[in-house]
Subunit: 452 residues, 2 copies
């Protein structure tokens, strides 16, 4: 196997070369690695060696590294660079990545970097900077290949040769008219197979799928996944071609969205990173815990209402966590299924009503099975048939209501145009705690005469 | 905008053409759509019209549709086709998709389909059929472009023209020696820029990254995402080139893995589908609920041990769900952070110890804040300082232990080579229920003299 960054000996050797200023030897070994591995090595270095390396590499070489650095780590790096070098590095990056980086910096730093930068690059970046986060505009790049319908295949190939070093992808060619309207698309595969004197107009597909610049990035991801595209053109409302979104950016979007849904289900408000300190972790989780603490107080005061029943039949308390726990679990199951379905767009309009009916039936089946089981267990354990019946019947009613609640909340949120993933697990769990206690003590109070 | 499948009028028109046997008119409109849209239309049709369509389309045209059908829907379609047609359709598909479909069918059906199929395709498929699920081998395709080092650029371009219609991607060319060992890689981009008489050996990169055929598909996905590849070669243990994995398959893998993690966090054992009936849904969720029911009985019998304390101080019962709920929530938060970190490979070896220390500190901060808050609230509500202190102190200890448990369980599972995502939310929640009750009643019993 080749030497690489996961080899500690190789890493030390490289670091020594950098520290000793053996520029040629360092460059030879370093630039031989894939940019992703260069980045992994670079991020492990102490600041003083990083400062050396900025002087060993060209802005273009540094740009390749920057494109692989996680956004949360970007700020200190840009700050420690010479501003002119930083501006040149950012100018060399793909515009979409450059914009991502600038979005992490303070406004005045951005302004001064754009001022140092050459006008062409600065203008391209400025245009992308004002698109809203998580839209197609914010993840597109402007380095695409556009050609005219009258071009011949051989001219197009010549043009591609010239554009290849700069373009984000050369595997799709976008065909535009004189006013820059998107009129067609052509894959490099089609171009290669074609005869050299054929016109692009006769070769291209005029059924070109595109997304609007304001489209949600999650919808763009779904489209690229469904249609197996390597890139998708982005247009404005008059169908002018503005940029393209490539599949490698979509992989990052999917990762981000999956992490986001996952964190929300667990009630972690913001995506946490392994490097976060305990204080930052606590700050991200505390808001949820405090909200849940107050919701928990509601549960407590609800039980408080039934203190009299509890004093008469202390054994009732034994089953509180079991009931609340089962309600929370079944609600989270229903929630996860509904959120996942909503986010992959699997439901139609009718589908939501169907889903609710199915969840009601699912809750009833699960409730009946668990209820029967629990009745028998409690009867044999406590030798009290009525207590068994109470607990069993309570769990049945609870499971039906809790399952419905788990599905209903995300559907309602979706209707109100709120991201259904916000209806996190802990929230549903606490709601269902309350529901279960209400049902349990309600039934216990009603049938108290059989229990004492 | 172009007419498409989301237009109900267009859909009805197309269906009428198919039903009336107006083959040419139907083919004209139908084949004009993207295969994904063809599939969406096809899947909405009743069986009798589907049976017509099989006779209107060539196996190749039908194969394009089949590649977009979800695997769970495949079985009835293959069964309703004429077996010879089905074999021809599957032979026309990319081998990786063909294998996915055959894996859904009964063994005897697979054998008979492979017998009808021409030998070349049948052999290719048979070779892939025995790779284990979720490995690189199971998602790779064998339709790649391989060339020799001695080839010139112009010969390579000629070869590509011939291979383009069949190959899964022509954007990477893999260079092999006479024994089919993978020795280099070349992108079509590099080929296009190069002069026509240059040898491939002088142009290719010999630092070709590859994955072993037994590699986990999640690791392959991570590699393609990190390195921004469009495809990755798959080799055996002697570095023979066996196949390639393309980025479009990786999008599906990422989706599948994200759904899987998400479902497990919510305690849904298997990924559910919107079309599942209530009975199937219930069957998928019940195993979890029953396990949790028995774990809940543990909680109940634990409280039963403290029945005496409860009879003396019934007010203790009021705070059970609050404590259990908070323990469950904080555990799920810690769990989600740890599982996500483990699955994206963010932790090193040292990282896990660091993570545990951080989680302990996070638990302590959150516990102190929530504990102080709760002490004050309970004191003012119940006008009982000792009760407030008991509940507040209990929540503090509980949050520390529950947070640690949430992080520890997935780390232990990872050490034991079990997928950490199996440590689902409900499981951790129930463990933490038990921990919280033990702490709460333990403290209550110890300090009973201050409470009665």
């Amino acid at each position: 196997m080749e030497k690489n960054v996961s080899d500690a000996f190789f890493r030390d050797e490289l670091q020594t070369l950098a520290a000793n200023g053996q520029i040629d030897a360092f460059r030879g070994k370093f630039l031989d690695m894939h940019p992703y591995d260069q980045t992994a090595f670079f991020m492990e270095l102490p600041e003083d060696i990083r400062l050396h390396i900025y002087t060993y590499l060209s802005p273009e070489e540094m740009a390749a590294i920057m494109e692989h650095i996680e956004l949360d780590d970007i700020k200190p790096l840009v700050t420690e660079m010479d501003p002119r070098f930083a501006a040149m590095v950012i100018a060399e990056m793909a515009t979409d990545d450059a914009v991502d980086i600038l979005n992490e910096l303070r406004k005045d730093v951005v302004v001064s970097l754009l001022t140092i930068m050459d006008d062409k690059n600065a203008d391209e970046i400025k245009e992308l900077l004002h698109y809203e986060e998580k839209t197609a505009g914010s993840i597109m790049t402007t380095e695409f290949v556009e050609i005219y319908q009258a071009t011949t295949v051989s001219d197009a190939m010549q043009y591609l040769k010239a554009e290849a070093p700069e373009a984000e992808t050369i595997y799709y060619l976008y065909v535009v008219d004189a006013d820059k309207h998107l009129v067609g698309v052509l894959s490099l595969r089609d171009l290669i197979i074609a005869d050299s004197d054929v016109k692009i107009a006769d070769l291209m597909s005029d059924k070109v799928l595109s997304v609007s610049v304001a489209e949600d990035q999650e919808d763009v991801a779904r489209m690229i996944r469904d249609y197996d595209f390597l890139a998708l053109p982005v247009v404005d409302f008059q169908n002018h071609l503005l940029g393209i979104i490539t599949v490698d950016d979509i992989l990052d979007v999917m990762d981000e969205e999956a992490s986001d849904d996952y964190s929300k289900l667990a009630g972690v408000s913001d995506v946490e990173r392994p490097k976060d300190s305990a204080l930052i972790s606590a700050k991200k989780r505390l808001p949820w815990l405090i909200i849940l603490l107050f919701l928990g107080m509601l549960t407590a005061s609800l039980i408080g209402q039934f203190e009299e029943a509890l004093e008469q039949v202390a054994v009732l308390a034994i089953f509180i966590p079991l009931l609340a726990g089962m309600a929370g679990n079944t609600g989270t199951q229903a929630l996860a299924v509904a959120v996942r379905g909503l986010s992959t767009g699997d439901y139609g309009k009718q589908g939501k009503l169907k889903l609710m009916l199915r969840e009601a039936a699912t809750g009833l089946i699960n409730g009946a099975v668990c209820g029967a089981l629990l009745t028998v267990i409690v009867y044999f354990w406590k030798n009290d048939f009525y207590l068994g019946l109470l607990v069993g019947f309570s769990i049945m009613v609870t499971l039906v209501v809790a399952t419905l609640a788990g599905a209903l909340v995300p559907i309602l949120m979706d209707k109100l145009n709120i991201d259904p993933a916000v209806a996190s697990g802990p929230f549903i769990t606490t709601i269902n705690d309350i529901i279960s206690i209400f049902i349990y003590f309600g039934l216990a109070t009603a049938f108290m005469q059989y229990l004492v």
